[in-house]
């Protein structure tokens, strides 16, 4: 039978997928483990809904940066876009009304473009660049907001419940996810980005305009983040924070790494990130229900993350990583 365009039988396809995506096994293991240990709290519709909520948060933050990780760079600006965008939204609401939500995709696009151009032309490592941008945006947001979170209530309809027990935000996230996966796997841009991540020099020699596509990668990252924030803003409470908390930054990155997109780039992608996000959501919820102490949960998840990296980089022995 034909699966994903290949003529193969279904069982080998499943085995092949498991081999290349070992995280699925971990996911299933977690689900089984929690179902057995704490069925009363884990196997409830409320928990199911909570897991999906976490999934949406991780995914919509992580989809954009995944594109950048594929080319071998890092984009840490997403929290900054959230914070600054939230304040700008509050400021623009009286002037532009409901249209103000467009500030998110526009800000995301502009930020991504700016980062891309600076990274490529000034040759600044993306890690430092986006981190600094994050800090700057956070500071700007705090300054413009006067140091206090500014809620915006007009968008509550975005997350109003449609289907019982199913977070509406999850429904909104589906087209965004599909768009991201489609772009990376079925278009020329995607192929070129993977090529650049795999061997930047070789990609240039093959005639790809590396600079142009790197800038494009950062721009798309910002754009996807911006679009995702249209949903995410309300999903996370309708009011962006003015204090920079490391936690917001780390978990989406964890989803990317856990999902199996290597930090050196060249493979992986959004389809892996959603797997990572789901696993992380399940693990977080389950551990929290079991232990109820957020700090211990964070500790365990941190260990899980480091373990995933160690296992993932086994194949990169000999590469000097600092």
């Amino acid at each position: 039978m034909k699966i994903l365009g290949r003529n193969k039988l279904i069982t080998p396809v499943i085995i092949q997928t498991l081999k290349t995506h070992p995280l699925i096994i971990a996911l299933i293991a977690f689900v089984v483990m929690f179902s057995v240990l704490i069925p009363a709290r884990f196997l409830t519709p409320l928990n199911f809904s909570s897991i999906l909520r976490l999934f949406v948060t991780y995914t919509l933050f992580a989809l954009g940066p995944t594109i950048v990780v594929v080319i071998g760079s890092l984009d840490l600006s997403y929290v900054g876009i959230w914070m600054l965008g939230g304040v700008l939204l509050w400021l623009l609401m009286p002037i532009l009304g409901m249209l103000s939500i467009l500030v998110y995709p526009l800000l995301g696009l502009a930020t991504g473009l700016l980062i891309g151009v600076i990274q490529v032309k000034a040759k600044i490592p993306s890690f430092i660049l986006t981190l600094s941008l994050l800090v700057t945006f956070a500071g700007l947001a705090a300054w413009l907001a006067g140091g206090v979170p500014r809620p915006v209530r007009e968008y509550e309809f975005i997350t109003a419940p449609l289907i019982p027990r199913l977070p509406t935000a999850f429904l909104w996230s589906i087209p965004i996810i599909i768009a991201a996966v489609f772009m990376m796997k079925r278009t020329r841009i995607g192929t070129y980005l993977y090529a650049i991540g795999s061997n930047e020099e070789g990609a240039g020699l093959a005639g790809i305009n590396v600079d142009k596509y790197k800038i494009l990668a950062f721009t798309l990252s910002g754009l996807f983040t911006g679009i995702g924030l249209i949903v995410l803003f309300q999903h996370l409470g309708g009011s962006a924070p003015v204090e920079l908390k490391l936690g917001n930054l780390v978990w989406p990155l964890a989803a990317i790494v856990l999902g199996g997109t290597p930090l050196v780039g060249g493979s992986g992608g959004p389809q892996r990130t959603i797997l990572g996000a789901l696993t992380l959501a399940v693990a977080t919820q389950g551990l929290y229900l079991m232990i109820l102490l957020p700090e211990v949960v964070a500790l365990l998840l941190g260990l899980l993350l480091v373990a995933a990296i160690v296992i993932g980089t086994r194949g990169l022995k000999g590469v000097t990583i600092t």
Partner: protein
């Protein structure tokens, strides 16, 4: 009227290229490629081969020169795409492959615009075309494999297929004869891989012409129809191997440009070699690189491992240095067996120093001369009783070395970045001179250095030898072997073929 067989497919005339107004990479070079032939372009490192190829393929533009295609004058291509339209494409020596892409993706990379429908790639169509060309060119692999999954020789074949395909897709005419430039294609391959590659290329000759860039003489002799020899940016010879009787040594002489008399062994000093064995190599084997290598190194002796590129000589010396692990056999350093995967820093403790001509690998370029010399001589510059660094001692040590080796530098505190190539090498040699290891491994010690610095380094090496330091030499320059070695092992295809004395070596080279 020129008959079709003699007609040139592609001809460059009088190409010159200078970089930064100083480095003259090419000086009035002309080469021609005919239909369905393999043309060799050979020369030493830095002779200009790469630059010429990059001009043909649009990466560089020449300062002077003309390009003719099928007899008619055409402009030089401005980028690889234009070159492909013209029928020329290149397979690079390294970094040409994109490992994480699937075969069909890599094959068609850059040509996706022909498979795009509403911004969606027609993957089935791409795979179909990919399968077709691979079949046509007898490349055995699955288009859905990832490039990194293929063996290296198959990867090279896919690269060649890609080059041919590029020309066809850009030119739009299936009938065009592609001109494929192969830049040192056999460098990453094993001996078996090379055989396969060449038989496949010969198969492809009916579909394309090839420019084979190399410095491996035996391969060039065997597979090319005509050979152009470049030296220092100039064309010095043009042989037709089907018509003229040319030997390997003829070619060698044209490439290196030295008089044969220079290879005759001249006994400079009495060579003092003691009975004591410092290094024993026994049946050393690494699959794909070298097999069954055995020799003993005595104190004060210098053994040379000579052979064409890819013969395994580089891997052997790197194995002794600890940079590569071996699979079979034994390595015994001063009576102690060494583990196959021991890390390099342990070798220093065993008395082995490794010096490579690849500048920058072991030199700390942003450090001054003083620090570069002292880093392997830390114990010598520490004060007593508290082991802290004495800058005074460090400086004096560096000054001694600079004087002895006649290093051209404003002061010992100059950063190595600003030194000339020869001076950098001398700093590297100097630190080993000071260190006085038992065994010094030299790989390409004088590559790219001016004559004066070269002589200084030879002098130093001989001094070190006299003082009892044993050495192993790997190089591309026969003169070095004659000058420094007591024994020269000739290696081919990973195995020792014969062991020569310097006199015998000189005779072989001069013949």
């Amino acid at each position: 009227m020129v008959t079709p067989m003699d007609a040139s497919l592609l001809e460059v005339k009088g190409v010159s290229k200078t970089f930064d107004g100083v480095v003259r990479a090419l000086d009035d070079v002309s080469i021609a490629v005919r239909q369905n032939e393999i043309v060799g372009v050979v020369g030493e490192n830095g002779a200009g081969k790469s630059t010429l190829m990059k001009i043909l393929v649009g990466v560089y533009s020449p300062d002077k020169g003309e390009l003719y295609y099928r007899g008619g004058k055409v402009p030089f291509p401005k980028n690889p795409k234009e070159a492909a339209e013209r029928g020329i494409s290149i397979v690079y020596q390294e970094k040409g492959v994109i490992p994480s892409l699937e075969v069909y993706q890599f094959l068609l990379l850059g040509h996706e615009d022909k498979y795009v429908k509403f911004s969606r790639l027609q993957i089935d169509k791409m795979k179909k075309h990919a399968r077709e060309i691979l079949e046509e060119l007898h490349v055995k692999c699955d288009v859905e494999n990832f490039m990194y999954e293929l063996p290296l020789s198959t990867q090279k074949m896919v690269e060649i297929a890609r080059a041919i395909l590029s020309v066809r897709l850009e030119h739009g005419d299936e009938d065009i004869t592609s001109i494929i430039i192969l830049d040192e294609p056999t460098a990453p391959l094993t001996i078996e891989g090379r055989r396969e590659l060449f038989s496949d290329i010969l198969d492809m000759k009916k579909n394309a012409s090839f420019i084979f860039v190399s410095h491996i003489i035996p391969e060039v002799m065997e597979f090319t129809d005509r050979v152009h020899v470049l030296r220092d940016g100039k064309l010095v010879a043009n042989y037709d191997l089907s018509k003229e009787k040319i030997t390997e040594e003829d070619l060698f002489r044209a490439i290196v440009g030295r008089e044969s008399s220079e290879y005759i062994y001249k006994p400079e000093d009495k060579r003092v070699v003691s009975e004591e064995v410092v290094l024993t190599v026994k049946n050393l084997t690494k699959n794909g690189c070298y097999y069954d290598i055995s020799f003993d190194l005595h104190k004060g002796e210098c053994i040379g491992i000579f052979g064409p590129a890819g013969s395994g000589k580089s891997e052997i010396i790197k194995t002794i240095a600890g940079l590569i692990s071996f699979e079979g056999g034994n390595l015994i350093i001063r009576g102690q067996k060494v583990k196959a995967d021991e890390l390099p820093h342990f070798r220093l403790g065993r008395g082995i120093g490794y010096f490579s001509g690849e500048i920058g690998k072991e030199l700390f370029l942003n450090w001054p001369i003083t620090k570069n010399i002292s880093i392997v001589n830390m114990e010598k510059i520490l004060r007593k009783p508290i082991p802290v660094i004495s800058f005074n001692t460090e400086r004096k040590m560096a000054e001694r070395i600079v004087k002895r080796l006649r290093i051209r530098a404003p002061s010992v505190n100059t950063d190595c970045y600003s030194l000339s190539g020869g001076s950098k090498q001398k700093v590297s040699v100097g630190k080993w001179l000071e260190r006085n290891p038992d065994i010094l491994l030299l790989e390409d010690p004088t590559i790219g250095i001016d004559v004066g610095a070269r002589e200084d380094i030879y002098e130093t090496a001989l001094e070190m030898k006299k003082s009892g330091i044993s050495m192993v030499l790997v190089s591309d320059d026969p003169k070095e072997y004659s000058m420094l070695c007591d024994k020269i092992m000739f290696i081919k295809d990973g195995r020792i073929q014969k062991v020569l004395s310097p006199e015998e070596f000189g005779e072989v080279m001069a013949a």
